[in-house]
């Protein structure tokens, strides 16, 4: 990590594309040598603060484990994120990262994996999917359960075919509410989980989405027989430092930024204060 963890590395926007309505995926090139070196350190599950100088900075989960750039997905919800959405390729940005813990991909090796992604919560799971697909022999059967409130909010639709056709992989997608062009599943992701009913044998699940979805996804997984030691998630909270100092993101004595954002369900259920 940098000498001053609050000082961002300078970078520039190398590419940007809209991946769902109101959600953009930013490709960032870091221009300072130290920043460039930091790219290799990012692991699936970690996050970074992205700055628009003059507007401020906000944390975003790593959205890709592939390619030469740092990829972060940004939903336009507030001041910083709207400012990010207004950027054009070539514009300068700042990056502080990698921050937080990561998905224990080594520990997951040899297991079947169920990925459960809701809305923009799917983006931090993308590097997990990439890692598994790029090292396919290291992992068992992969089940991807993908959801959004509506079809236009589905993330990473351009990768659906790759996921569907990947060896030993099944892909299911649902939306809470369809539209005239939607012919797929309609219903909450918990319903899809029950329909697919993945085997619990030697399986690890990885869930990300809005807090309320994570809550119900855990309940459904329990119903399906998964134990707290099999369920991973990644949480988010408003935060200002990412290094455990600013106080914003505590869930009881745990800080999302340094004790997480990745947690096993047995850790989550021990939080004195719930994450909802």
């Amino acid at each position: 990590m940098a000498a001053n963890p609050m000082r961002p590395y300078v970078g520039r926007l190398a590419g940007v594309r809209e991946v769902a309505t109101g959600v953009k995926l930013f490709q960032i090139e870091l221009t300072e040598p130290e920043g460039q070196a930091s790219l290799a350190e990012y692991k699936p599950g970690q996050f970074a603060f992205l700055s628009v100088f003059g507007a401020g900075e906000a944390p975003f989960g790593l959205a890709s484990a592939r390619g030469p750039y740092l990829e972060l997905g940004v939903s336009a919800l507030g001041h910083v994120t709207n400012s990010l959405h207004a950027l054009e390729v070539g514009d300068p940005v700042g990056v502080r990262g990698p921050l937080g813990n990561w998905f224990p991909m080594d520990q997951i090796k040899g297991h079947d994996v169920v990925i459960i992604g809701g809305g923009i919560g799917g983006l931090p799971l993308r590097p997990v999917i990439h890692t598994i697909l790029d090292h396919r022999a290291d992992y068992g059967h992969l089940t991807i359960l993908w959801a959004a409130r509506s079809p236009d909010l589905l993330i990473a639709t351009d990768e659906f075919d790759e996921w569907r056709n990947a060896p030993d992989t099944e892909f299911h997608v649902t939306v809470d509410q369809g539209d005239e062009n939607w012919s797929g599943n309609v219903g909450l992701i918990t319903k899809l989980m029950e329909e697919v009913a993945p085997s619990t044998q030697n399986t690890i699940t990885v869930t990300c989405g809005p807090p309320i979805m994570i809550h119900f996804a855990f309940l459904t997984q329990q119903k399906l027989g998964f134990t707290p030691e099999q369920m991973l998630t990644t949480l988010e909270a408003r935060m200002h430092c990412g290094i455990g100092k600013c106080g914003r993101c505590n869930m009881g004595e745990k800080f999302i930024c340094v004790d997480g954002p990745v947690f096993w369900q047995y850790e989550v259920k021990e939080f004195l204060e719930g994450f909802l």
Partner: protein
């Protein structure tokens, strides 16, 4: 004991003020604050407890910590530092204790907070013992004392005709070299302390009371203001924002600042999109006290309270940390 007079102290402070940033208790419109002073004459020697703690001088309420210059698409980022040393004179022992509490997180937990570390390293703490405990004070219950030298570089105690000088640390020893003193027989008088101790219970007991109705009862009248956290010598939450200070064609100057924040405020936990995971006053009040007595000691070691009593006397609706500590001890003891 090493003895010095107030006049000698003032002369010494005059010399310090010429060389470095000098902060000391000062009267301001009928209030007493630690404030920058230019000479020994501006320093208040007879005061109770400055209304705000000394933390603002190592963890400023508002501080520019980065200056960013954007020329076209080129950006330079500069960390803001000062070469000047700083002396905080007349620090009460509880305020020094408060800094030690913040140290446990900002210095001792990796990575260190660079800005805080910078200020802490450039600062020497010259304490003045309290002759007695003030309204609301309970430092003796929190491991401190009105004349506790532990977290200071120099401790002064008022004695007949002047002050007893004790250089506590190496930094302190170096600083008092310029202070005229003489050896004198006798010891400084012990300060008066309150008899009734406030009970401090272990974090395991706190954990049993998280869902107790006492949080509703104490929290419901909270105004969600920030007085308690801003007067507190250990509260350290902060926010970070950018401000554009200059815009010209092709050039923008930006300051990144950090500003005190407060877990008691309504929108503290409001996330982008509007979800607030701590939407009620009792929930926020509970978090404040759990931070001090459960999370902070479990995560970083020390308790997050030094018993300075400021929040006790300044809360407009009498949310009294000592009452809560007594309630928690009483309820915890019942189980």
């Amino acid at each position: 004991m090493k003895f010095t007079t107030r006049d000698q102290l003032k002369a010494w402070l005059d010399g310090l003020a010429a060389e470095m940033d000098l902060v000391a208790p000062r009267g301001v419109d009928g209030h007493v604050f630690y404030r920058p002073v230019a000479s020994g004459d501006e320093v208040l020697f007879d005061y109770e407890r400055p209304e705000l703690s000394a933390k603002a001088f190592v963890f400023p309420d508002t501080e520019v910590f980065l200056r960013v210059e954007q020329r076209g698409k080129d950006v330079t980022v500069e960390e803001v530092r000062t070469e000047r040393k700083q002396v905080i004179f007349g620090v009460r022992p509880c305020d020094a204790h408060g800094l030690a509490v913040i140290d446990a997180l900002f210095l001792n937990q990796e990575p260190a907070d660079a800005q805080y570390q910078h200020h802490r390293e450039r600062t020497v703490l010259v304490g003045l013992a309290c002759p007695r405990m003030w309204e609301g004070c309970f430092c003796t219950s929190m491991g401190g004392a009105p004349d506790d030298a532990t977290h200071l570089d120099v401790l002064l105690r008022e004695v007949e005709g002047g002050y007893a000088v004790e250089a506590v640390s190496e930094k302190g020893k170096a600083l008092v070299k310029g202070l005229k003193t003489k050896q004198k027989a006798g010891d400084p008088p012990a300060p008066q302390t309150n008899a009734d101790a406030v009970p401090v219970v272990d974090t395991a007991t706190w954990r049993t009371l998280f869902n107790d109705k006492l949080w509703q009862r104490h929290g419901e009248r909270c105004l969600s203001c920030r007085i308690c956290t801003y007067v507190c010598p250990t509260c350290r939450c902060f926010d970070v924002v950018d401000r554009v200070v200059d815009t010209q064609p092709g050039l923008t100057r930006i300051e990144r600042i950090r500003v005190w924040d407060a877990c008691t405020s309504t929108n503290y936990r409001r996330a982008a999109g509007g979800h607030n995971s701590r939407p009620t006053k009792p929930g926020r009040i509970r978090n404040r006290f759990y931070c001090k007595f459960c999370y902070y000691p479990e995560d970083f070691g020390p308790l997050g309270c030094v018993g300075c009593g400021r929040c006790v006397v300044s809360c407009p609706v009498d949310i009294d940390i000592t009452e809560i500590m007594r309630d928690v001890a009483a309820k915890g003891g019942q189980e």
